[in-house]
Structures are given as structure tokens and as C-alpha cells.
Symmetry: C2
Subunit: 503 residues, 2 copies
């Protein structure tokens, strides 16, 4: 065994790109039960962001594990908030610095909905929905199957990257492989609580983060098709509420119906004016700032497997908005009626002309769109439909002055982020990930959802991409969260490969 190990080390030094997978696999085989035990211990510490004593226990535990592996650590603290674990692993002669972002907090969990206690990690023969049975944690590699799963809060979201990073460090140290970049570990403790102080943490520690050349966000699941993926962006988010006005108090629909203006009618007409029959937004300029995809990104789009038919069937949809595919639609800013209210419906409906009607509008933004400008465009559209815009409920004078009045309450929000696939360093990451994941690797220009990735891409002005390792059916945020063992191994190989990425 020793001779083989030595041979591997030799080969890896000469051509790490060729053999890092084999070294990782060997390391996994030789240490699998220890890796699972270590992970179990990590998952046993409750990790809801508002539970600061336990959050601190998580941080202490992870810090001590990083220190064991020679990482210089520091707890970044803002009083009363979960700390950020900052780890630095300098590499002599390295000319760049990669940062691995992970969050060690998890979603709250209602124990009553879970089969096992969320913080008592339980090993299963396969997924519960496939009929998995609980079993003891394996005591040898031979007992382990890729389809096994560990059930626990944060098994997938987002402690799996912690254990894969620690294991990757072990692997390169055991094999005396030199990392090719300085490594930064940036583990947040309140992502599931909205990352409320993230910007402040970044501002307060600008010197530490300014030297980072690339941010790797180790979070989220792989593609719904089970294929591995890299994600290059997220959509931004903002929104507004619009209230339209009828009479200054609800009126009897008999005495006044057909004469009093009906706010639900007025609001409906306004909403209807915002989209065409196919569901495309026809607000002037709404798509104007959308940054087009590069040729490379267009090509990547073509390699994403279509999930449209599956989604339609799952969600009971015959006719989605727009004429493009699901993935193409995510590359456009959206405008969604999240809520409507006026008077009452159902058993509470009364024979009235209501005084107001309100729509809650959610907007998702893509690369190029400014949240304030997009809201301005919507307001310009509202004015174009003949409305006078107010910020507070109109007084009597205003009511009598304008034929149509809309109160617009703007939400805050933040822009989308997207890192170009064309950047040389990103090309390297893609190549290196393909080495682990194979040519099956999906390159997704953007997620539909939103994360404040712009803090890194736009504020720090650094490339930032998302490296998911968890299985897509990991039940993140829900009961019975889990990680598939095969995905854990994938994560270890991926981290190892990226830490030793050739320059």
C-alpha cells in the first residue's frame, strides 16, 4: 500500500490534473468511516442562527477542526450575531487566492414533522421515499453504498461542504500535495436568517477579503436531472405594492354599483396592461438592460437538459408563461402578482363596492437590471395608464383632483449577479470540475432564486460562482433533510481538485 501511495504522490506532483480523483477516491476508501463519524459529530450540534450558544458551539468545533489542519483561523464578530469563521491557508509561491464560502447555520426545524430528531444524524440504506431503512453508521468502506443517506438538519444545506473541505485538506496533506492557491475559508453563521450583517462583515474586514481572487459558493443542490452543475449567477429581487382606489368607504353595490368606480376593476386593468397574451412583460424598457449571454454561455445553455415537461407534469401546468424554455425564462426579469386583495371573496364576500384593491408585485432581476430603475419603469408604465401616483393614501383633495390614483409602495431589494464563463479563471474551474464530474457537467448561467451574491461580484468586484454538491432531493429547508453519500464523495473530490487546480 505504501508503495502505491508513494507512486500516487509522485504522479500527482507531476500531473495533478490526471490523478487527483484517484487520490481522493483512495483517501475516501481509507478514511470513509472516520469521515462519516466526523460529519455525524458536526451534524449533532444544533445550528439555528438565533440560537447563539449552539451557533458558537458550531463555530468552536469547526475552528478547532480547521486548526488541526494548519489553517490560520479568526472569528469575525459583530456583537449579538452569529460569527463568521475566517480561515486562511497560505501556500508558498501561490499567486492567487480562492475563497470557499459555506454557511454553517441551518433552517429551523419542527421536530414533530421529522422522522428522526433533526440533530440526531441517522443513517439510511437509501432515500426514505425510495423505502430506505435506518441502519448503523458503517464501520468499513465495504458496507457503504453511494445511495446511502444521512438524515439530519443541514446534512445537505450547508454542512456537507464543511466536511468535504476538511477532508480535502486531509487528503492533500496526507499525500503531501501542495495546494496551488492560497485558500480562504469564509463560513457564515446566519445565511438562513437572511445574511443580515453580511455586508457589514465584509465592510469591517475589507483587508481580509480584498485579496481574494475568486469566490466559490459551496451551497445548494445539483441539477434536478441529478447531473452535477456549476452555477454562475442568481437573480436579483425587488418589488412593490400597488393600491387603487374606489369610493372613500365601501359602498352598497346595489345603490352604487355601475356608478362608483370599482378598485378591483381598475387594478385588474392596470395589471392586465403589463403583459401581453404570451406572458411577456410589455412595460417599456423592462427588458432593455438585460445583459446578453456570451457565445460560450449560449452554448452552455444548449447543454442543459430540458426539465420543462417534467415540471409541467409535476406542477399541473399546461401553459407556462412565455414561449421560451424554463431555463431561458430565468434569464429575463420577472413580474409576478404575489398577492391580490380587495373586499372579500368566499363566505365573507359582501355586496359592496370596496374602497381599495391592492396587488403585491414581486420582481426578479437579471444581470444588467438595476432594482431602482426597474421599479421606475413600472411606475412610468402606471403613469402612462393615466394614474396619479401617491405614496400615502390620498386625501380628499387628491381624490377629487385625479381620475385614477395608485399608491405605490416600493420594496428595497438587490441586483442580480452573474460571473462570466469567459473569464480565464472560470474556464479553469470549469475544466477542473469536469475532471471530477465528467462532461455531464451542467453550466447554468443563473438560478431563478436570489442570493446577495452582488455583494461579492459588484461590491468587491470579484468573480463568484456557486458549486453545489448536495443531491437535488435533499429536502433542504424542509423536514427530513439529507445528503446522499455519493454526493458527499463527489464534494470531497471536487474540493480536492479545486484546491490543487493548476495555474
Amino acid at each position: 500500500m505504501r508503495i502505491i501511495s508513494a507512486l500516487f504522490i509522485l504522479l500527482s506532483l507531476v500531473a495533478p490534473c490526471q490523478d487527483i480523483n484517484k487520490l481522493s477516491e483512495k483517501h475516501i476508501k481509507e478514511n470513509s468511516t472516520q469521515i462519516l463519524t466526523d460529519f455525524k459529530n458536526l451534524l449533532s450540534i444544533p445550528n439555528v442562527a438565533y440560537d447563539l450558544p449552539n451557533i458558537n458551539k458550531n463555530a468552536d468545533h469547526i475552528i478547532s477542526e480547521l486548526k488541526k489542519r494548519g489553517v490560520e483561523t479568526k472569528l469575525l464578530r459583530i456583537v449579538g450575531t452569529p460569527p463568521i469563521i475566517y480561515g486562511y491557508y497560505p501556500v508558498k509561491g501561490a499567486k492567487r487566492t480562492l475563497a470557499f464560502y459555506v454557511h454553517y447555520d441551518g433552517q429551523p426545524a419542527d421536530k414533530n414533522n421529522w422522522i428522526n430528531d433533526p440533530w440526531t444524524p441517522t443513517y439510511y440504506s437509501k432515500a426514505l421515499f425510495e423505502g430506505g431503512e435506518p441502519m448503523d453508521f458503517p464501520v468499513s468502506y465495504d458496507e457503504i453504498d453511494d445511495e446511502h443517506r444521512i438524515y439530519a438538519r443541514s446534512a445537505g444545506d450547508d454542512k456537507a461542504p464543511v466536511i468535504t473541505i476538511l477532508t480535502a485538506l486531509d487528503m492533500i496533506q496526507t499525500n503531501k500535495i501542495k495546494a496551488t492557491s492560497n485558500l480562504v475559508f469564509f463560513f457564515e453563521g446566519q445565511e438562513e436568517a437572511g445574511s443580515r450583517q453580511l455586508q457589514q462583515y465584509l465592510n469591517d474586514n475589507r483587508a481580509l477579503v480584498d485579496e481574494i481572487d475568486l469566490w466559490l459558493f459551496c451551497d445548494g443542490p445539483v441539477h434536478q436531472s441529478r447531473r452535477p452543475q456549476l452555477v454562475f449567477g442568481v437573480r436579483g429581487v425587488t418589488g412593490m405594492e400597488i393600491t387603487t382606489y374606489g369610493p372613500n368607504r365601501p359602498l352598497h353595490s346595489g345603490h352604487y354599483g355601475n356608478w362608483a368606480p370599482v378598485p378591483g376593476q381598475i387594478l385588474s386593468e392596470l395589471i392586465a396592461s403589463m403583459k401581453d397574451e404570451e406572458g411577456n412583460i410589455i412595460i417599456d424598457g423592462f427588458y432593455e438592460d438585460v445583459e446578453p449571454l456570451s457565445e460560450l454561455e449560449k452554448k452552455a445553455m444548449q447543454n442543459i437538459p430540458s426539465i420543462d415537461d417534467g415540471l409541467k407534469k409535476e406542477l399541473g401546468i399546461n401553459n407556462p408563461e412565455g414561449t421560451e424554455s424554463y431555463n431561458e425564462r430565468l434569464l429575463r426579469p420577472s413580474l409576478t402578482i404575489k398577492g391580490l386583495s380587495s373586499g372579500n371573496t368566499g363566505k365573507l364576500a359582501r355586496n359592496v363596492v370596496p374602497a381599495t384593491a391592492t396587488a403585491a408585485i414581486g420582481m426578479r432581476l437579471v444581470k444588467g437590471c438595476d432594482p431602482e430603475k426597474q421599479k421606475n419603469l413600472v411606475e412610468a408604465h402606471i403613469r402612462k395608464q393615466g394614474f396619479h401616483i401617491v405614496r400615502e393614501d390620498p386625501d380628499q383633495e387628491t381624490r377629487l383632483k385625479y381620475p385614477k390614483i395608485a399608491k405605490v409602495t416600493r420594496s428595497s431589494g438587490y441586483p442580480a449577479a452573474r460571473t462570466s464563463m469567459d473569464l480565464p479563471i472560470i474556464q479553469e474551474v470549469i475544466e477542473r470540475t469536469k475532471h471530477v464530474a465528467g462532461d455531464d457537467l451542467i453550466l447554468l448561467p443563473t438560478l431563478g432564486g436570489s442570493l446577495p451574491l452582488y455583494l461579492f461580484t459588484d461590491e468587491l468586484k470579484k468573480p463568484a460562482i456557486i458549486l453545489p454538491i448536495a443531491n437535488h432531493d435533499n429536502n433542504q429547508h424542509a423536514a427530513d433533510e439529507n445528503i446522499r453519500i455519493g454526493n458527499l464523495w463527489y464534494g470531497i473530490k471536487l474540493m480536492s481538485a479545486l484546491m490543487t487546480m493548476d495555474k
Copy 2:
């Protein structure tokens, strides 16, 4: 005094049209304190429809008052419901029968919102909103002013007609004037509870009601301009709820926004398609069956004072629906969005694409429109917009089959009623009322609100008109309901005039 009385009787027999007002005025002067005391006693009996013991006390009291005046009475009963007081006052040689409909029940009252107990009638020097002060009930006619008011539940709605009818009977009997028609008194006890058994009462007592030639509905207030009015119709009422569908469960607006169909958008587009920019309904055929006004009715319309400017100012409205006047708009069927709901707005709004959106639609109908046909027209319009209509939430197969689905839940309802002003008997009533009210009398083709008057006009096939006597500011249905004394006197004169209407 006796000689004068005899003279009056003589005159009234010769030319009742000329002098009935004077006889009524004299009777009022001579009996004012007794009339007010009698009214006070009647108003002191609580009269909410579900309070059957008190409802029965009201019925017993009124029956005994009718009997005192020689009226043949009968309590029409359906077990467990407030009885109808039926009174018959036959007149030898009379060739027709007039029925006076009144309801002796009143709206429930929350004592906490009233200045005085709702069933402790209190006398005021003028309206509360004009600074009226409480005073003792007057002990002589000289103390009484037309602007005085009595505050009590049902003072205006609808016990005032009871006391005016009883007083009119006294008057004609005192003066030995012969009524010119057989008189029927039909006093309902559950109008404010929805007249649920009215149709059954009419069916069960068909022989009693079939001989009636004209129904006079003594209910409601005079015109907002304070001018007296006769009302010839009411609108019908019906409605429906429409639910549109997005995904089969609420989806994350980031992951799916811009792809998943948005039910609030779909519903808004459907609602918007129902009206033009001016607020006219553009559903095919919606106005087609509207029965036009006769020349006489058109002329009457021109004599109705405009209340549009006042209403706009009061209700904070710059731009009412449609381009016609308030009174003209009431002569068209209406379509009102009474309620809208989808997802949430305000603080409860979440970042979702909701699964459904629902609109509660109220429809008022005018003479000529059939409630079922009008709903069919709306459904035909919905289909024309590309929707598949369902009656229950769609199953998966239905969802996948149709691009747009609308669940339509139809309400029941009833048609409008309108009695033609051109009928000879109606012309007589108009002339006779003008004799009391003067040329100021407003002839209103229809109210905006709804009453099941069709039971009389369409089922019994008899003319039916509404004779309001209460002041327009009587606070009916609300706290501090009241009657203005001048309106009470008007009612006595009107009842006397109609009972002695020449043939």
C-alpha cells in the same frame, strides 16, 4: 267644531281630492300628542326578527290596534318564523283592492353604538348631527316642530308606516270618509332577515293575495334631495365567483417566476376584458335584454334632481364609471368586483407564485334581464377568452389538458322588478301623491338596490310600487335611527290620500 267637521265631510264626499290634505292636517293637529305616544309605545317593543317572543309582542300589539279600527285581522304563520300580519278592511262597493306592505321587524342594534337605548324612543329638538337636544315628548301641538325627531330602532325603517296607516284609518273614520278601495294590510316580520319565507307565505295564502290590484310598499327613505318620491322598481341581484389557476401549489417566485403561470395575472386579464375604458360592460349581449323606458318614464327621469356632484364630493370620487348620470347608470345591469384574493398582500405577502386567484363578482339586474341568462353571458365571455370552465377545482388531468381554466361558482338571485308608470292605476297614485307632495314629487323608475319585488310583479303579476316616507338621513340599518316629525305627518297625509283615492 262639529259644524266645521261636518262641512269637511261633505266636501270630502263631494271632492275628496281637494280637501283630504286639510282633513289630515286637522286630524294631526287635534291628535298629535296621542299619535306620538302611540308611536312611542310601538317603538318600545324590540323587533329583531330572530327574537320571536318580542316579534310576537309586536304582532299582537299591531293586531290589536288594527282591530280597534275595524280591520279584520289574521296572523299568517309558518312555524318558527316571524308571522305576517294580514289585515282586511272591506269597503262596500269598492271595485279594487290596495295592499299596504310594511315590515315591522328592524335591523339588529348594538346598544354600545347608540346614544340612547334603541328601544327607548327619545325625542329630539332636531337631528343629532345638527346639534339636536333631547326633550320630553310634546304635550301639545304647539310644542311640535317639523324638524323634531324621534330616535329609536325602526323609527324610519319600517314602523313609521304602521303608525301613519293607523292614523289615516282614524282620520277617515273620525271624518266618516269612505275609503274608495278595499284595503289590505300586509305587515312582514322578517324583512331585515332576508324575507326568507316570503315566497312561501305568498304561496300558502294565494287566495288572500290574489284579489289585490296594487301593492304599495311603504318602506325606504325619500330622495337624497329631501324631496318626496315614488319608486317604481328595484334592481335584481345575482353573482358568481371566478377562480383562476396557476401551479397546483404555491411556488417560489424566484425559482419559477416568469415561467409558472400567475393566477392573479390571468384573473386580472379576464376581469379587464369585461369592461371598456369608460366602465361600460363589453360582455356580448349584457345590455341586450334591458327593457327601455317609456316616454313618460323618460320624462320623469328628467325631473329627478342630479345628485352626482354631491355624491362625488361626499365619496371622494373624481371619475365615476360610465359617462351617464347616477340615475341613468342605475337603469343598466351592473358588474362589480366585490372581492379579489390571491396569495397575500401587505405584511403577509410572500415570494410566491400563488396557486389560485379568486374574484367575487356582484351583478345587479334591471327590468328585462334574467339572472340565469346574464350569468350565462358572462360564462360565454369567459370561454371566449380561452378558458375552460369547471365547477370544482380541476384535477391533474384537466389541468394538463387546458391552457386556461376558470372555476365558476354561480350564486342564486332574483330578477329586477319595475312597474310601468303608464298604467292607469299608477297614474292615479301619482296624481294623488302629487296632491300631498306637490309637483316636487320625484318619480324614480328604479332604486339601485334589490328587494324581492318580483314576487309581486312577476309571480303574482300585479303592479307594485314603493312609497317612501322616512327622511333620507334616518340612519336606517345604523345606530341612532330616527324619523323626522315632518315626514311622519307627510306619511299620514299620504296614506289618507291613497286610502281615499278616487276611482
